[in-house]
Symmetry: C2
Subunit: 67 residues, 2 copies
Amino acid sequence: MKIGEVARRTGVAPRLVRYYEQQGLPTAERAADGYRRYDEADVERVERVAGKVRAGIPTRLVKAAAR
Amino acid sequence: MKIGEVARRTGVAPRLVRYYEQQGLPTAERAADGYRRYDEADVERVERVAGKVRAGIPTRLVKAAAR
DNA sequence: CGTGTAAGGAATTCTGACACG
DNA sequence: CGTGTAAGGAATTCTGACACG
């Protein structure tokens, strides 16, 4: 699925999904057309990351915790 | 999947897939965004229809044969 | 009749940037 | 730091039409 569907399902704006990825929280692969491609597992990852960020944990720490 | 993917998989131009549908050979449902939505079974249907049309059978007869 | 193409619009995505606090 | 938005481009889809043979 593409980023728009992930956004609808997680309630996380596409802008933020891209931001998390930029911060090094791996959430997507690229399709041949350059668009990000997500699967079910990615949806869960986005949800978990968003939950921690909402709890006030900086993305740097979320990333560290994921290690 | 959308019409573009059906076209790539069947080798039938999107223009023709729409044409078959217009002729009453049912091949698609509509998504909420107005785009045609296809599944695996639709791909097979498009292939069968295209085969008959290439064999010279008019779409009217292909439709009749499908009844 | 089956198929191609140009036309104009809409929706989605992409990136890099400015904004705020 | 996390998030919104405007900017400009690209790819895909939609419809109705003109073209040809």
